[in-house]
Symmetry: C2
Subunit: 259 residues, 2 copies
Amino acid sequence: MVAETVKLVKPSHSPQQNHLLAALPAEIFDRISPDLELVAMPLGEVLYESGGILHHVYFPITSIVSLHYVMENGASAEIAGVGNEGVLGISIFMGGNTTPSQATVQTAGYGYRLKARVMMEEFNRAGPMMRLMLRYTQALITHMSQTAVCNRHHSVEQQLCRWLLSTLDRLPSNELTMTQELIAGMLGVRREGITEIAGNLQRAGLISYRRGHITVLDRTGLEKRTCECYNVVKKEFHRLLRNPEAVKSFTAKQGVGFR
Amino acid sequence: MVAETVKLVKPSHSPQQNHLLAALPAEIFDRISPDLELVAMPLGEVLYESGGILHHVYFPITSIVSLHYVMENGASAEIAGVGNEGVLGISIFMGGNTTPSQATVQTAGYGYRLKARVMMEEFNRAGPMMRLMLRYTQALITHMSQTAVCNRHHSVEQQLCRWLLSTLDRLPSNELTMTQELIAGMLGVRREGITEIAGNLQRAGLISYRRGHITVLDRTGLEKRTCECYNVVKKEFHRLLRNPEAVKSFTAKQGVGFR
DNA sequence: TTAAATATGTACGTTAGCGCACATACTATA
DNA sequence: TATAGTATGTGCGCTAACGTACATATTTAA
């Protein structure tokens, strides 16, 4: 009873909060778990620079990281976001050890990291860890592809709704701590554009916000205003990482949670 | 002498024309080569539909295939192009066996295909074939990422130049057989826009074209007009698939050609 | 040789989003 | 509680790209 109270007051972090780690068969999880290192991931921290060598893979649990590319003129655009459903540093096992894109913490929080060497040892067993990582990478490819299409064809309003929804999917509450300036940077659009659209959404009763905080009031309403891209990506993550059939192929135990 | 003439008149197709196949160590190539099937890939052929199950991987040699997503309203946009430097059907080994995107032949030609089962047998040896495929996938991820960024920030003229250059990189001559309508479809823009820009490029002496054919006259000129994306992707392919260090890790013999 | 189909050219009004210049409001710290 | 720093609001002209509607070439098939 006492222990339970303590848990409630100070909920301890657990690797299981990351859906990929949670999906590993016990045997594998136990093998890597001594090497899992809980790390704080403060807002703005750069996990890896463009072209920089990666030393760890990161499994976010309460943080969200943005994969983006910074152009020569300083402008940038998000390629994909990664939260508790995923992992950062795929180029470690895919090969090359570095990418032209950058990874920056977009929502502060915690995550677990694993030394590149440890990940590679496990990956090279060519077992469940490898299959899980490749499946996640395939899902990430869908995410990136859809971002490309979305950037081409959809309005900033649709994209903002999509971004809000997918960020929400990775958070425990319905409040995001995020300035409009930061969101504009993610989407690669003007801050003023976000201000205007956020105002519209607020007037429509879908969100409410104050300086640096956005609360989603009507999720369904946002889903109505966003483009098909949100659902395409969500369904594909679900299919690849939770679907029973898919899961059977890498572990007989359980799938990867994805709300 | 006679044989040589015959060769010149009717140059036979060879799996080595695909840079990935050419990069495989002899032992592995010999093992899969009986299963490599030369196939014609006519313009417009759909290699796989959105959501359709893949039965083969395709290694283009003279053809170019466009990976694109078709939206609910029928509009579409290219995510990446794949020619003799690559392979189609990565979701076979990445997992999931299907993707929301579609693959359509954009430039008619030939390619070799391999049954999914054969590819998987080789991939599952977790040797050079696996590492080569993962490295290629990593390069493709960069390509897709850059497409997303490019769609967000760069002008249609820059994107057209980029598209012409990367298509040229996969062809033996400097002439593309391609209507403006098709190009517009690839880029996901209006046909009239392409007409106008192509006119500009022609007046500037960079290209010349007639109904369904475009000849690049001044490659350097196009490179000056395109955005950084072209070079980012090109360098990354080179680094991942030709760089000696990279190559050493999957074969002691040779790298993957990429002009 | 003609007709039909397809490809390219041109024009014109519309619009989403940009760049810039500020005004206003909130928040933290002195 | 003043002040500086940061976030948000608003307006305005500008431009790239869009949608639409045709005109004019060029190729293929009848």
